[in-house]
Every structure is written in C-alpha cells, then in structure tokens.
C-alpha cells in the first residue's frame, strides 16, 4: 500500500473541507482498502466519513423511507421498517458478500463499489477504467463475467452491487452534499452511468460530493417481491446474474412492476420498457416469459458470456414468478 494521510472527519464541514481531487472518502473500506492494497486506488488522503451522523432511517415527507448514507448494510437490511415495507431491498442486501462485510459496509459505499473485472484489479493489465487509454483487456480476453447491455468499445465491465439492483427496481433518489455545503438530489437511474468513452467514471457524482442519504419511494412492492441471485457458490460470491422483481397487484392485474438486473451492465440495469409492458397484465407464466424475451432482446453477449442471455431470461421468469407467488 502506498503512503497516505488519514483524516477522521468530525463533521460534514470538515469532511467537505478536507477533500481534494486526490483524496477519497472512506466508509466501511470493504472495497476501497482492497483496491489500495492492489495498487488500483492510490489516494494520498483518506477522509473517514463512516462515523458522521448520517445513520438514521426515517419516514420522509413523500411517504417513503430515508436511509442514512453512513448506516451499515446490516443495520439497513435488518431494520424493521425496511423489512416490512421494502423487503426487496432487504433481500437484495442480505444476498451480498458475507455478514462480516455487510457489518462494515456503508450504504453510500455500496453505491460506489467498483467493478470486479479482473483486468481492473490487476495493475499490470490493460484497463481503461483503471488507466484511461490503456485499452480494454476483457473485450478480446476473458469476458465471461462481463456486460451484455450498454457497454462501449472502452469498457465492458459490470457493476457488482446487489443492493443497487434492489434500489433500481424500487425506485429511489440519492442525496449528496456538495462541497459548497448545499445538497442535490440525483435520481437513482442517473446515479450510475454507462462507460461510454469515460469508463473511469462509474457515477455522475461530482468531485467532493458526499452521499448522505437514499430516499425510497412510497412502498409498492412490500407484498410481491423477489431477489434472485445466480452465483458460483452459495454465499460470498458476486452475481453472474441477479434479478430484482417487484409487483403490485390489484384485482388480479399488475398495477405496477419494478424489474432490474445485476451482473449485466456498467450500472444496475432497469427494464423500464418491461415494467410498462407488465402493467395491466394478468400475471402468469406466459406473460413472464414474454417479459423476459422483451427484456433480453437487445442483449449482445461476448464469446465468453453467451450464457447470460439464456440465464437472464430464466432468471426474470423465475424472479417474477416468485414475486407473484410470494405473500409476505
């Protein structure tokens, strides 16, 4: 690890004032510290923000729930309000990593997890995300874990978070503190970005901005929800494919649907068209199959990840079926 200075921020103001373009906010450190040991992240200053007072969960004025940016993943996923009204979020979060990692990881940090692409992790390999202009090793290399949607010639990496897939299906906004002390709200779908020609940028956060809260919409999928995660071992593994599905039903018809997929794109992949398609339909296997076909129709796999198209379809049908059958 390279030498760095450490600032334990006592309050928001100190955190924001300490920031410089070569420094990094430190939450739980479950991803950042690993990347520093791997020489991928090289900040000269860490500003510890995990102990700042953004750890509350409360009803917001829009009838939804606000979740503190510094609260741990464990405390969030196991919070009674989250479990009761946003079980899809809880389920997605609890499928991630291990209990120990979830205890350390913060909600804000989870949003900023970096890709697990092996080229990104190995400092001697080409990777445009780590070292802009060095090329993408994965496109013509080992791409079994990579994107099938929304990638570019520069980068085919995928976002690794489970929580973010749950949030994408639910609908949320992210509140950030700007360096000048004001706040801004970012729609969840606009928070993460596609790689384009700037894969080094994972999100639309501006330098120095600090995530302080996540605002959830009014609960709509508290009864019919499912988070399906397909992975190579039963726990402590990133998703090959994951699906967050939420349904709202009235009179035997779908009145609202939330559907997002993980492990397939540079950001949690929200199927807006499919969500619309499902509204007004009577839920059954054939509708779910049609939804899956629609969802995956634009998938463009690489040599090593063709399996993701078929797996993705099956995962969508399964997640929607489970969400429909589920009555919490």
């Amino acid at each position: 690890m390279r030498p760095f200075t450490y600032t334990g921020a006592k309050n928001k103001e100190q955190a924001l004032q300490s920031y410089s373009p070569t420094s990094h906010y430190l939450g739980g450190g479950t991803n950042l510290l690993d990347l520093m040991k791997e020489d991928v992240e090289r900040p000269d200053q860490l500003i510890e923000v995990a102990s700042l007072d953004y750890k509350k969960i409360f009803q917001n004025d829009k009838g939804g729930l606000t979740i503190g940016g510094m609260l741990s993943n464990s405390e969030t996923a196991n919070h009674p309000e989250v479990r009761k009204n946003y079980p899809l979020l809880s389920m997605s979060m609890l499928s991630a990593a291990t209990a120990q990692i979830r205890n350390m990881a913060t909600n804000g940090g989870n949003l900023l997890q970096r890709t697990r692409c092996p080229y990104f992790f190995e400092a001697s390999m080409p990777c445009n995300k780590r070292e802009p202009g060095s090329g993408c090793g994965a496109i013509k290399g080992m791409n079994s874990l990579h994107a099938i949607f929304g990638y570019s010639d520069s980068c085919i990496a995928v976002h690794p978070s489970d929580m973010c897939v749950g949030l994408a299906a639910l609908g949320a906004t992210v509140e950030v503190q700007k360096p000048d002390g004001s706040t801004r709200i970012i729609a969840f779908d606009d928070f993460h970005r596609l790689p384009g020609s700037q894969p080094e940028k994972d999100t639309n956060l501006m330098p120095g901005e600090l995530i302080t809260a996540i605002h959830l919409e009014r609960p709509e999928f508290s009864e019919h929800y499912y988070y399906l995660k397909i992975r190579e071992r039963s726990s402590y593994a990133f998703a090959l494919i994951s699906v967050a599905a939420g349904l709202q039903l009235k009179g035997g018809e779908i009145t609202k649907a939330g559907l997002a997929m993980g492990g397939v794109a540079h950001k949690p992949w929200k199927f807006k068209e499919v969500e619309k398609f499902l509204v007004g339909k009577k839920p059954d296997e054939s509708i779910f199959e049609a939804a899956a076909e629609l969802a995956m129709k634009d998938a463009k796999p690489f040599e090593g990840n063709t399996y993701k198209v078929e797996m993705g379809k099956k995962a969508i049908v399964r997640a929607l079926s489970q969400a429909y059958a589920r009555k919490s």
């Binding site: 092996p118 071992r233 797996m311």
Partner: protein
C-alpha cells in the same frame, strides 16, 4: 500392570494442542519472537515469457526504510539444475533470481527488504522492470504437438486394449477435464530466515522438515548439519508445502546479505503463482464391457502441462491400473511444457483427478448397460492388484459400497434421469468408489521419560509436522498406549530438524509412519528398562515402577520403524465409497448438495474425531473441485485472473451438505504393526465423480468438465427432452 488404557489409541479425544491454537499460543512460522528482524516483499514478473531488459531499483532503494533490493543482477550464485527439465521432487533445489529469463507470469524477479512490512510492500511497487516479451505458450489445446512422454513409467499396459474393446458388447469413449486448482491453505507460505555465521535457522511453513533442510543446503551448497528448520505448527498444506519453495531461498539470500533475520510472507495473490498448483488435466477414457457388466478393456490417457523448465507429472491414470478387474488395460501420461509455474502435488495427486475420470466413466458405462452402478463395480472387484500382480493387504471396497448404499438409501434411487423432481429442482443420486495408496515410511523418534512426584511422564520428539491433521494428538495417544500412561502425561514436540528424522507429512503416510515411529521408541524404552533389571518381556509393570526399580528419574530411548519385507509383497491401500444427493435448479443451473455419505476402510482409526475431520475436509475439497473451484487463465497474457478468495471459489458452509462419515473396522497388520492406514487423501478421492454422477441422474446431462457451474448447466440446456 498397565495403569491406564482408557486414553490410548482409538479414542475420540480432543486435539492436545487445541487450546494452544484457539488461544493464539501455537506458534506458526512468522510468530516466533525473532529479534532484529526485517521484512521482505517479492517482486513478480508481469509477462509470461521473455527476458528482463533492465531493472530500475533506484526509486525503491531511496524509499523509506529500504535496506536492500535483490535482482538477478546482484543475487548470489546458487546451485543450478544439472539437467534439462529436472523432475520436481520434495528435495529439489529452488534456485531463484539466477538469470534474466522469465518463464511464467508472476515469477519472482526481485526482492525488496525494508525495516517494516509496509515499507517493503510499498517499495516493491517502485521497482521498474522492462521486458523483451515473447509470445507465451499458455494453451494446452493449441500446443498438443509439443506433448511428450515424461518417463518410462508414465505408460503402462497389460493385455491388448484393442482386442478388449473389440470383444466388448458395449463401449464408451469420453474426455474429462479438470481445471487448474490451487491448494490455498489458510496459513500463507511464510518464513523467518536467519543466516548467521554460515548457519541457517528457518522458521518456515513446511510439510517436510528434513527435506527442507536438504533443499536449503543443496541450493546454497552448505552442509546439511548447518541448517535447522522449524515448523512447529503448519496451517494447512495440501501438498503446496511439500516443496521448499523459492520464497524460502529468497529470504535466506537476503538474510545472508544483510546479516539480519528476514521475514517473508507470500501474499494470497502470490499463492496463485509462486507456491504450486494442480495443473489442468485432460483425461481420455475408453471402456469396453460385456452385457453382463464384465469389463473387457479400460484405457486412461492423460494430457497435462508442466513448466518450461521443470517436470511434474500427476499420475491420474494410476487408479485405472488397480481398481477393477480388467484384463486389457492401457495407461498413458503426456506433458506439454507451458509458460506457467511448475505444478506440484495437491491433495491425492492422481487419485483426486483420476478418480473423477474413471468413476464418471464407470457410471456412464453402467447407464449404457442399464445396470446399477454399484452392482457394476462389485461385478468387477478384484482382491489382486493386477498392475503389480500381488494381493491387496486388505480391500473392503465391496463392503464400503454395500454399507454406504444401505445408509444412504440407495434403493430409493431411480435409474432413469429426471424422474425425481421437486418444484424447480431436479434431484439425483450418485455413487463412486475411492482408493488411495496407504504408504508407510521409515520414521525415527525419541522418547524422554521422567519421574515427577512418583508419576511417569513422557515427551516424544520427532521432526514430523502437524499440518492441521492431528499428528500431535495421535502421537500422544500412541505413546500413551505403548507406555501405559495417560495421554495428558505425554508431551509431543514436533517440527524441528534437530529431532529424529521422519518422512514428514504427505502422501497419507503421516499417521502410520509417525505413530509406528513413536511406538518403536516407546517399545525400545520399555524393553531396555526391563532388560536392565532382568524383568521378563511379557511381564506387565507400570512405567513409574519400572523407573523406580532402575533407580532412574529420567530415561531416553530412540526407535525407528520401517516397512517390513511382508509389506513389499502386498499392495497396501485404503478404500472408500462416496454417495451424494444433489439438487439442480432447472432454471438457474445452481446445484445444491443435500447430503453425502462417505464410507472408508482405512485400517485402525487412531482417533475418530481427527479422522472425521480429515474426511470432512476431503469431502469439502471434493465439493469445491466438483462445483466451484477453478483458476482461470487470461487467454492473451497468461496470468491467472482468479487472484483472491473473492474469485477463486473455495466452498462455503452453505455449499456443504449433511455429511455422514463411516469408518469400517479393519485389521490390516500387513500395512504396519499398528494397522494404521492413511486417510488424509482418501476423503477427497472420487467425491467429484459422485456429484457429477448425481447431476447426471438429476438432469440427464453428463458434465465432464469441472467445475460444474451454473453457466455450464445453463448451456447444457436443462429443459425436458433435450438429450445429452
């Protein structure tokens, strides 16, 4: 009269060193308090083949705390290999930093030594290496033309394979692949190396202490007597610590240069590239059988890779020489030199991988014959090892299969695949047979008996290692048994080359060798003490009384045990059977192992508790091999893209099943005087086949390439009516 037998061999007592371990008092390699030590960090190559053009160490040398930077330019001359492609053994020299050639990605190209671990780690990143890169050979498939036959014993045949296939009613040919795997013991490879006035002291995590002193003395060309190796506790090895690897040599070079002890810990990432691995094996099987299940022919041809400078061959085909009664038999092993590190033994080398191919192929043939796979194996059982033309000392394979079938409820199995389902789950049962050679090697030990407040206590010393297996405990139990004192009055001191020589831990010979060695020392002590007082051999007398009669408060004796002539006339093996129930999700391709039954016949079980631990560990590793573990190669650069536990998927608790382990009572005095046979490797053997066979029974798909991941099962198409 013997005072006590209650705590002797055969009892499931807790590990005698358990308290030390759970309280953090057991000293692993880098936990010895060595004063004045400094820290080293190795620098690894970032190309797979080529030459170092230049190394710029100036920035690293200027960094805080840095004491030295070693590269091929300033490293001392070590002994070089005397031949091309020497075979890798456990006493093979480990020269390092001897030239500018790079043979594989991650090869050591330098070493930075600094005052602190952090300084060394940081400065290692400042070493700048320029390479002249060549295209590496990294693809087994594309380099087939370079395959060669390593030694005469790589091939074996009896009868006429072609005639055997021609005489068959049913034939099978299939190819099975097992990927590169890594041992990944929990304790990282590590050493504190001291070079002091020409004398070496190395606290290092090794399985074989005496061999380690040989490697060090040969590599540096110094007398063996000047080398002391200590490995008191070893946090797992699985074969990766059989060899004394280059990090030990690097640390010693640095210590010699600086005149200070040097600590070097191999990182988890480096444990993919610098401490051995199991190579990719492509195994082609051919089987011929009569309608009634009688085998007529069996061939097992293995293609593997070794490094470009050293040879290691995993004997995958050996299991097919001896497990079944088949008159026509052909075994071949071929190697292709590739630009990867030299592979080495990994738990049950040969058997773990070979049994996957053989026992999968046997299952495939049983299905072709529409015969129960247990009946098919029993039909072809043999009490003679046909490869050596000598009897097995004991072989209870049929019993293992039958008792396992009973415990598992095998009769509930439906032979037709896809007929047992539950919702989205396809349920299958699988079986496989296991065999593992049970060697026994010359072993010496010393017993020190003393009288304390009228009570006899004893200490056993030998250079044996306990790599987590339970050696300390079973040696104490043995001494208790043969001295007639309670186990808690026995102290066991291991892992120091100053102690009497043993073969070390490997090849499943540890338990038999160590315990017979301890037995010999104890028997010698008792005999000697009796002789001095003319007490008849058969007379029972308490050890304390024996010392008192001799007017002694302390007495020492040594003993050596080794295989008898009788031993050489037999083939000595442990046998077993594995049963698995696997559920496959037809939509996600994820597999869940619901339960496993393992039956073993492995001679006298010294301690059912530690023995159970060995089998559980083996089964877990077998589950990893079957479903999750693989090291993936980057196809253009030749590095491993699996580089941490996040992406090298060793199984977690949730991947494991409910496991039932049964040891059959077995009396095998040909194996050795105590009737002890190894179980360290039996547990992993053929586990993967039983799981793959269960997956076939569940899905109708033959999964011949490990690991059987969701991706592969999705691509195999799990819809009904799609034929394999």
């Amino acid at each position: 009269m013997k005072t006590i037998k209650a705590s002797g061999i055969g009892k499931p007592i807790d590990r005698i060193e358990g308290r030390l371990k759970v309280t953090g008092m057991a000293k692993y390699a880098t936990e010895f308090p060595v004063e004045n030590k400094v820290y080293a960090q190795a620098v690894n190559s970032t190309i797979a083949k080529g030459e170092i053009v230049s190394i710029d160490t100036s920035e690293a040398e200027k960094a805080a705390g840095v004491l030295a930077v070693l590269t091929h330019k300033n490293a001392e001359k070590l002994k070089a290999f005397e031949e091309e492609m020497p075979e890798l053994g456990t006493t093979t020299i480990a020269p390092v930093l001897q030239s500018n050639k790079v043979h594989y990605y991650g090869e050591y190209v330098g070493l930075v030594v600094a005052e602190t671990f952090e300084q060394a780690t940081y400065a290692a990143k400042l070493v700048k290496v320029k390479y002249k890169e060549e295209t590496p050979d990294i693809h087994l498939d594309k380099s087939r033309a370079k395959a060669y036959k390593p030694t005469e014993s790589s091939d074996f045949s009896r009868g006429d394979m072609d005639a055997g296939m021609a005489a068959a009613d049913q034939t099978l040919e299939a190819t099975y692949n097992t990927p590169i795997e890594h041992h990944h013991p929990m304790e990282l490879h590590a050493v504190i190396a001291s070079w002091n006035n020409g004398k070496v002291l190395a606290y290092t995590s090794q399985q074989m202490v005496d061999n380690s002193t040989i490697v060090i003395s040969d590599t540096f060309q110094i007398p063996k007597k000047d080398v002391r190796v200590v490995a008191a506790f070893v946090g797992g090895g699985f074969g990766s610590k059989l060899n004394t690897d280059r990090h030990v040599i690097l640390a010693l070079m640095a210590s010699k240069k600086l005149g200070k002890p040097v600590q070097l810990t191999v990182t988890r990432n480096q444990m993919f590239t610098n401490t051995g691995m199991r190579q990719h094996n492509e195994q082609n099987m051919r089987i011929g059988a009569k309608k009634d299940g009688t085998l007529t022919a069996l061939s097992h041809e293995t293609l593997s890779h070794t490094s470009t400078f050293q040879e290691y061959q995993e004997p995958c085909g050996n299991v097919s020489k001896m497990l079944y009664k088949v008159p026509n038999n052909l075994i071949k092993h071929r190697l292709i030199p590739l630009n990867f590190q030299t592979p080495c033994s990994m738990r049950a080398p040969g058997e773990a991988t070979g049994s996957f191919a053989l026992e999968s192929a046997m299952d495939e043939m049983a299905w072709k014959l529409k015969m129960d796979p247990i009946d098919f194996r029993i039909k072809n059982d043999t009490q003679i090892d046909l490869s050596e033309e000598r009897p097995f000392s004991s072989r209870l394979l049929i019993e293992c299969l039958r008792i396992g079938a009973e415990k598992f409820g095998w009769k509930e199995r439906k032979m037709e695949p896809r007929t047992n389902t539950n919702g989205n789950w396809l349920i299958g049962y699988g079986v496989s047979a296991a065999s593992r050679e049970a060697p026994y090697k010359k072993t010496s030990s010393k017993v020190i008996i003393s009288l304390e407040e009228g009570k006899a206590i004893a200490t056993i010393q030998m250079d044996a290692t306990d790599i987590g297996t339970g050696s300390y405990t079973i040696i104490a139990q043995t001494a208790s048994e043969y001295l007639g004192i309670p186990t808690e009055d026995v102290t066991v001191e291991l892992g120091d080359s100053n102690y009497p020589v043993t073969p070390g831990s490997g090849g499943s010979w540890g338990a038999a060798s160590y315990c017979n060695g301890a037995r010999a020392a104890c028997e010698n002590a008792i005999a000697e003490l009796k002789r001095k007082k003319n007490i008849p051999e058969g007379e029972e007398i308490a050890l304390a009384d024996l010392l008192k009669q001799n007017d002694l408060t302390k007495f020492e004796a040594e003993g050596t045990a080794e295989p008898s002539e009788e031993f050489e006339k037999y083939s000595v093996f442990s046998f077993g059977a594995n049963f698995s129930e696997v559920w496959v999700d037809k939509d996600t391709g994820m597999s869940r192992i619901k339960r496993m039954v393992n039956v073993g016949s492995a001679g006298k079980i010294l301690n059912p508790k530690t023995a159970y631990g060995q089998i559980i560990g083996g089964l877990t590793m077998g589950v990893g091999m079957a479903l999750t573990e693989q090291t993936k190669i980057e196809p253009n650069f030749g590095n491993f893209i699996t580089r941490s536990f996040a992406d090298y998927h060793a199984p977690v608790n949730l991947d494991m099943a409910n496991v039932e382990v049964i040891f059959l009572p077995e009396e095998d005095k040909i194996a050795n005087k105590m009737g002890v046979k190894g179980i360290g490797e039996l547990g992993i053997t053929s586990v993967a086949a039983s799981i793959a066979n269960a997956i076939f029974n569940a899905t109708g798909k033959r999964m011949r390439d490990l690991p059987i991941t969701p991706e592969k099962l999705i691509m195999a198409k799990l819809e009904p009516g799609v034929e394999s």
